[in-house]
């Protein structure tokens, strides 16, 4: 098991605020958590060094940038086909593709964003040409995000 990081209630509070807005001022965090600015700074430093905070980034609406279609593609394949699929998706330069190996219903879950339907059709056809017949395409509609549902606290070792 990877090294666990112990976090307390204040760390969890900081994390939740940073998920909502990573540009939140240290001063505001300090007020919100009722500790000193220095303490907030040190805590964030520790959370970053431990690897719990990977990076600060933007959450962008790709629809507004021309990627209007998002889809999850569930793929069932033989293990020896996996590399081919990864190469295929990489070579297609689908700008926003994320591939995760998975267990259960599918062997690979691919998340793609595309400019139009043809791109997804193309991908599906190419997958089938690779001999992968079990491809399940699901297009995303309205999405609801509830970060608060996820428990952020240190769990027992």
């Amino acid at each position: 098991m990877k090294d666990k990081v112990q976090i307390d209630e204040i760390d969890a509070k900081i994390l939740r605020e940073l998920i909502k807005n990573s540009r939140t001022k240290l001063k505001d965090l300090a007020e919100y958590c009722n500790v000193s600015i220095n303490a907030i700074f040190k805590r964030i430093q520790r959370l970053k060094e431990s690897g719990l905070i990977k990076r600060a980034t933007l959450f962008t609406n790709m629809g507004a940038l021309g990627y209007e279609i998002s889809a999850t593609i569930g793929i069932n394949l033989n293990p020896d086909q996996e590399q081919n699929v990864m190469n295929l998706i990489r070579d297609k330069k689908m700008n926003l593709a994320a591939i995760s190996r998975s267990m259960g219903k599918f062997d690979l879950c691919v998340f793609v964003m595309a400019k139009n339907l043809e791109e997804i059709e193309d991908l599906k056809r190419d997958l089938i040409l690779q001999g992968i017949n079990r491809v399940s395409v699901n297009f995303w509609g309205k999405t609801h995000v509830q970060y608060e549902n996820v428990e952020l606290k240190a769990m027992g070792r």
Partner: protein
């Protein structure tokens, strides 16, 4: 949207804590311009928010579960979405079109977690079928998939064609 907007987006995607002053220096703009661009894109809904990406394996999560849910034709899909969104550990729910009607993503500590959530989804009256897939990816939230600009040049090419 123009090239400056995209540059600002790229800088902030790499590190959303960077001060507007620093970005301004790098791009040869005034800090005020950078701030205006940021605020404009926020207003227009191009930027949802500045956020941090966490690695939840560090606090004991072992991965994510994807729940593919089929809705019973007798009910509205919205009802399933609403019920599933209330479940603990479920952080993203979307209506989908395809083999299934709703997808839900949950952070899970172990299989027990996934089974528990699975059972709770099954109990919802508007749900007719649930399938699960697991991944060991522990990144939270989903910035890696949603709205991360992986290939800025590609995006710009595509954009300038419009």
């Amino acid at each position: 949207m123009d090239k400056i907007d995209l540059k600002v987006l790229q800088e902030l995607t790499e590190n959303s804590e960077t001060s507007f002053r620093r970005i301004a220096m790098k791009l040869g703009l005034s800090p005020k311009t950078v701030q205006n661009r940021y605020e404009k894109m926020e207003r227009q809904g191009v930027i949802f928010r500045s956020t941090v990406e966490l690695d939840l394996s560090k606090i004991g999560y072992s991965g994510k579960a994807y729940f593919f849910v089929r809705n019973s034709p007798k009910y509205e899909v919205a009802e399933t979405v609403n019920e599933v969104s209330k479940l603990k550990q479920v952080f993203l729910v979307s209506e989908i079109v395809g083999d299934f009607d709703v997808i839900a993503l949950a952070m899970i500590k172990d299989f027990g977690d996934a089974i528990k959530i699975n059972n709770e989804i099954r109990k919802i009256p508007s749900v007719s079928k649930v399938e699960i897939a697991f991944t060991s990816n522990t990144t939270f939230p989903l910035t890696e998939k949603f709205g991360t600009i992986f290939q800025y040049e590609e995006l710009w090419k595509n954009f300038s064609k419009k």
